[in-house]
Amino acid sequence: MESLTFEYRGGVPIESPRIPVIAGVVGSGNLEILLEAEGPADHCTIVVVTAAAGFGAIWQAVMDDFVARHKPGGVRLSINDVGATPAVVSLRLEQAWDAFQGGSA
């Protein structure tokens, strides 16, 4: 198990209030993402607990891209990962963000 935390600033504050959403499942090769409104309005905090240690640089790159794409502000993501590939992580992030925005996941 490895725990990683990523902090971003300069996000666009989300329109509140928002209902927390969960995307994905805890299962082999998959992950679960909890996305909720929390923290200062331009902050985004991402906490990853992953079963596969040693991939911090890749997580960083995936999260950088996600944050650059959506500029989340006042948001916290909690991720439980069971060895998902970056492709799956990105897809789940998009699904979670979409649901959070009120779209259809």
């Binding site: 090769g29 596969a52 991939f55 890749i58 790159a61 995936v62 060895g83 590939t85 970056p86 492709a87 799956v88 990105s90 897809l91 998009e94 699904q95 979409d98 779209g103 259809s104 996941a105």
Partner: protein, 547 residues
């Protein structure tokens, strides 16, 4: 000249005469099979033990590996696969001097050790078509040990749906003074049809158990991931629809199974029924059933059969190549030829792709071979007939300057990371090291980069045809290589430039929303769904039944 032009013919007569004595006749009792093999095989003979990744002459192979090494020795094996333990046993027993083959699959590790230990010399590792070709030039078998379903008392053979390599092997052997020995599952009074005439067969033995057949092409839809669905959507919309691909071959795997299962749903919604995927060189993939039932498919020619698909195939003679007796006839040599020359597209997965687009499935410590993929996954430079897809690809090919010509589409579809975070994109293929340690003349590359037209990953499609320089090509590949080291080292500005020119296309550039890539799009989500789609005709092997 000495005027003696029939030495080989007399040698065959001698072998047949010795075999008749040792085997007690043309139909040989299984108890006498070892004696028969010892009587007819001479030291240094080229021997073909029939087998592919599907059916296997397993009884004859086991029997050969039980012969006296003092009598049966210095053999030169010339055969499609070294896949059975008995194939490698024969080598370990010191009865084989040299092997020429195509594929070793499950025995790849044992084979690598034997080569490294100097126990065996590899002539060459071929594609199936190359090896079949050499059967008619310089590697004609002196003895072929083949597998058929049934024989009659005269020695006519019925090979049925799993005809596979038999015609190519027997044609070469029987007409060049060789000896053909067949193992059959059954000896019957009357065959459903004659696939190999008795005059081409010297001895027949009924095996104690039916010849082994591997259900190699069955993929359980339950294991298809959303990423594979996404990549299948990109293949259909970004390549099949754009080029109007009607004639094609699919490699084996979950990526291509996903495409097959998206035809009746996603492709149909795009209005592509009748416009794509009508004519196939393909084994009877169970995952093609929903597309066939939805009227997508007009014709399928098969390399071999697939366990459990026989009743379904027999009930769809408008689609498959079926004999007057009602059962399918496959033929690997012809289907490989069709895949190479008559198809506009090949798509398949791989293990590693380098910066030039070369791909390989060779990994350290294993000599796995090639099978048929390189012939499918290669531009057919000798092709002359035109089709809209072939012409469009040719018009895009930056290397086609001056004389206009067409181009086959060769597509590699890979998730950027495989299981256990193994990157699919690498700076240097493991094939280099495998080639060196096995003393091969060349690194074992499955598909050469200059044959690849497109690479699909979850990140998008790279169109390599449109790349004008090696640098553009490298950046196009990096541009879809995701978060692998190769992908992270991309020149972002160069990749965006390629994207502006349509060389790199993201899902959104294709009008595809990745969030809609769910398993709900699959026309079947389980083996049971496939059985249902077939109207109960598909009879899956036990290991795929989980209900």
């Amino acid at each position: 000249m000495n005027g003696d032009w029939s030495r080989a013919a007399r040698s065959r007569e001698g072998r047949v005469a010795r075999g008749m004595i040792a085997g007690g006749g043309r139909i040989v009792s299984r108890k006498k099979i070892i004696e028969l093999l010892e009587a007819v095989i001479e030291p240094g003979d080229r021997v073909c033990i029939e087998g592919n990744n599907q059916k296997q002459a397993d009884f004859l192979s086991k029997s050969l590996a039980a012969t006296d090494p003092a009598k049966v020795r210095e053999l030169h094996l010339v055969q499609s696969v070294l896949a059975l333990p008995s194939h490698v046993d024969l080598i370990e027993r010191g009865q084989v001097a040299r092997i020429d083959f195509s594929f070793s699959g499950p025995q790849a590790g044992r084979l690598a050790k034997l080569v490294e230990g100097g126990r065996i010399q590899i002539g060459a590792i071929h594609t199936y078509l190359e090896l079949f070709g050499r059967y008619f030039i310089d590697l004609t078998p002196q003895v072929a040990l083949i597998a058929a379903q049934m024989a009659d008392a005269e020695g006519n053979l019925y090979t049925g749906p799993n005809t596979e390599d038999t015609p190519a092997i027997v044609e070469a052997t029987a007409f060049k003074n060789g000896l053909v020995i067949a193992q059959v599952n059954q000896i019957v009074d009357k065959l459903p049809r004659v696939d190999i005439p008795a005059g081409w067969v010297n001895f027949v033995v009924q095996a104690p158990t039916p010849h082994y057949v591997e259900p190699l092409f069955t993929r359980d839809p339950a294991q298809i991931s959303e990423i594979q669905v996404l990549m299948a959507m990109m293949a259909i919309k970004g390549i099949y629809a754009e080029y109007g691909i009607t004639r094609l071959n699919h490699g084996i795997g979950f990526d291509t199974a996903a495409i097959e299962l998206l035809l009746p749903t996603y492709a149909a919604e795009l209005g592509l029924r009748g416009k794509i995927c009508t004519h196939w060189a393909l084994n009877p993939h169970p995952t093609l059933i929903p597309a066939i039932e939805a009227g997508f498919v007009k014709s399928v020619h098969c390399f071999g059969s697939e366990v459990g698909m026989e009743p379904y195939v027999a009930a769809r003679p408008d689609i498959f190549f079926v004999g007057a007796d009602g059962s399918m006839r496959s033929n690997r040599a012809f289907s490989q030829t069709a895949g190479h020359y008559a198809c506009d597209l090949f798509i398949g997965s791989t293990l590693q792709i380098d910066l030039a687009g070369n791909s390989s499935t060779a990994t350290k410590g294993r000599i796995a071979g090639f099978g048929g993929a390189p012939n499918m996954g290669a531009d057919a430079r000798g092709r002359r007939h035109a089709s809209p897809a072939w012409l469009k690809a040719g018009s895009e090919d930056a290397r086609n300057t001056g004389m206009p010509r067409g181009r086959k589409l060769v597509v590699q579809t890979v998730e950027t990371f495989r299981e256990h975070m193994e990157p699919a994109f690498v700076e240097r293929l493991d094939a280099w090291e495998v080639g060196e340690s096995a003393g091969m003349a060349l690194p074992p590359v499955m598909i050469y980069g200059d044959d690849v037209s497109h690479i699909i990953t979850e990140e998008g499609i790279a169109n390599l045809l449109l790349c004008r320089t090696a640098e553009e090509r490298e950046q196009a590949i990096r541009g879809v290589a995701g978060y692998t080291q190769v992908g992270l080292a991309r020149d972002r500005r160069a990749v965006e430039n390629l994207r502006d020119r349509g060389i790199v296309r993201r899902p959104e550039d294709l009008g595809i929303n990745p969030r809609l890539a769910t398993r709900d799009l699959l026309a079947a989500r389980s083996i049971k769904d496939l059985v249902r789609a077939s109207g109960g005709l598909y009879d899956p092997p036990k290991r795929f039944r989980n209900w």
